[in-house]
């Protein structure tokens, strides 16, 4: 009996690598995260990109100015209208074209509806990542109605290619205003439902509060924009600071929160949905009459120079940087994608936390992978 070793073996820990993705449902696309774990604690996180890299920037170099816009719908497909708008604005800037007032109003309506659809999808998938399935279906209920409006007026549900240099492709249908108004009433009621279902849920709150803290200085240094940065107290709404298409005439609040955590990012997005509705309500009754598109030449040529246009998509600041050599195609087109910069925040906010919190952080940063890879 004296030979029996009564001492328990020492607890051994060893770091190991787990590949999350590329097909993991919580990555919302094909992103691979190489996570070095010690038990459940994340020690290091390395994103691997390129699974859906299509070379959009290179393709744009071989297409005319009016032609390449359809490609940008396929970047951040949840902000397709806004991506189209960014490119159109950049081209209009080079051509010095004045867009008709009606087109501007339609653009804002479409862009804000797009923001609404995007945030609704985010709300559903965010809750689903944290274990609640019902919100996903509830969010799609409203989202589908908005997509139906898109389909009727633009011909497409997801990749619209509707906003075009000079204005918009076609005029809106005659029943657009009445349909949108009835829908808005429903969406506003449903927003209250969302709040009672999830926002007040104590389990949900505890999964988000104090998780994934992104300090303001870090957000600035990392180039974060959109709700991710605004939840860290960085005021950066492009619609306020560098207004375009008539946002300067509208009354809306820039939602900034100081919590810096996942919960703040949740609150900011929820409030942004209300602001989007508020913006739509201001324009819906006063859509100006007149032309919906300014006349442009068949082949557009931009003067030699460089043009930079930024817009606020649902995820942050999208920049379109066009270098023109005077030809009918862009010499170089850089798309500064908001998700690409926001992705940089993922490592600093998750290292040291548990792997379960990684999903909460990812859900609230709201990455769209085709926008990162382009």
């Amino acid at each position: 009996m004296e030979n029996l070793n009564t001492e328990l073996p020492k607890e051994m820990t060893e770091e190991f690598v787990v590949n999350i993705g590329p097909q993991h449902p919580s990555t919302h696309g094909v992103l691979r995260l190489q996570a070095t774990l010690d038990g459940e604690t994340i020690k290091d996180l390395l994103p691997h990109l390129g699974y859906i890299h299509r070379g959009i920037e290179k393709m744009c170099e071989s297409l005319g100015y009016k032609q390449f816009i359809y490609l940008t719908s396929r970047m951040d497909y949840l902000s397709a209208h806004i991506n189209n708008q960014a490119c159109s604005l950049a081209i209009e800037k080079g051509l010095q074209v004045e867009v008709p007032a009606r087109a501007k109003a339609i653009r804002i309506l479409m862009a804000e509806l797009q923001r609404l659809t995007s945030h609704e999808l985010w709300w559903g998938s965010c809750a689903m990542d944290l274990g609640a399935v019902t919100p996903f279906f509830l969010a799609f209920r409203d989202r589908e109605r908005i997509l139906e409006i898109f389909e009727e007026n633009t011909g497409n549900r997801l990749t619209m290619n509707y906003i075009t240099p000079g204005g918009v492709m076609t005029d809106i249908n005659s029943d657009f205003v009445t349909r949108l108004k009835t829908l808005l009433v429903k969406i506003k009621e449903h927003l209250k439902e969302y709040e009672t279902l999830i926002t007040g849920n104590i389990i949900f709150q505890r999964r988000l509060k104090g998780v994934g803290v992104l300090p303001k200085e870090l957000a600035i240094s990392l180039g974060c924009t959109g709700p991710t940065a605004r939840a860290s107290g960085l005021s950066c709404d492009v619609r306020k600071y560098y207004p375009y298409d008539g946002y300067e005439k509208l009354d809306f609040k820039e939602i900034v929160a100081d919590g810096c955590d996942s919960w703040s990012r949740y609150v900011v997005r929820m409030e942004e949905m209300r602001q989007s509705i508020h913006i739509i309500e201001q324009i819906i009754d006063n859509i100006p009459e007149g032309e919906y598109r300014a006349k442009l030449k068949g082949i557009v040529k931009l003067p030699v120079g460089e043009y930079y246009q930024r817009v606020e998509t649902a995820r942050g600041e999208l920049g379109v940087y066009i270098v023109s050599d005077g030809g009918n195609k862009p010499y170089r087109l850089k798309l500064r994608a908001p998700n690409f910069s926001n992705l940089g925040a993922l490592k600093p906010i998750t290292v040291g936390s548990k792997i379960g919190d990684l999903m909460a952080s990812m859900a609230t940063i709201d990455l769209v992978i085709p926008d990162i890879d382009r």
């Binding site: 390395l46 691997h48 990109l49 390129g50 890299h53 070379g55 920037e57 290179k58 071989s62 297409l63 800037k93 080079g94 870090l218 600035i220 240094s221 990392l222 180039g223 924009t225 960085l234 005021s235 950066c236 600071y241 120079g305 460089e306 043009y307 930079y308 930024r310 600041e317 920049g319 940087y321 270098v323 010499y331 170089r332 850089k334 500064r336 690409f340 910069s341 992705l343 940089g344 890879d373």
Partner: protein
Amino acid sequence: MTKEELKTYLEQTFPQNKVEETFDFPLLYADKSELFIIAKKLKESPETLFDFLFCETAVDRTPNLEMVYHLNSTTHRHDMVLKVVLEDRENPEIHSVNELWKAAELYENEIYDMFGIRFTGHPNLRRIMLGDEWPGFPLRKDYKDDINIVTL
């Protein structure tokens, strides 16, 4: 500062450097060797405080390569462009600005991937999208790929 004020300020502060303007922003050319010093000065001096690197990219101006830094100040809300011309096309190399703006880590990985510009002092330089096996650098103008690129 407005665009004109900023342009005058840059002319006065960096008399050796060429100052121009693009359609939107004032534009400062920096030499490759002094990029980091100028960038640091732009970031830290209280008149400019360019703490937000919102776009970093490269342009292939055959035969040269050109680095383009779009800077913004979250305090003063003004923007500018900083450019560096790289004459060595075969082996382009430049100092990383990752120490000043952390956003540069991912941006520079992408530029290295697409243009083949190496960044000294970068913490983890890798071909982030295409992978190490990919031949050539696609966004260069002399890139040839008969299989994947279908010209119209």
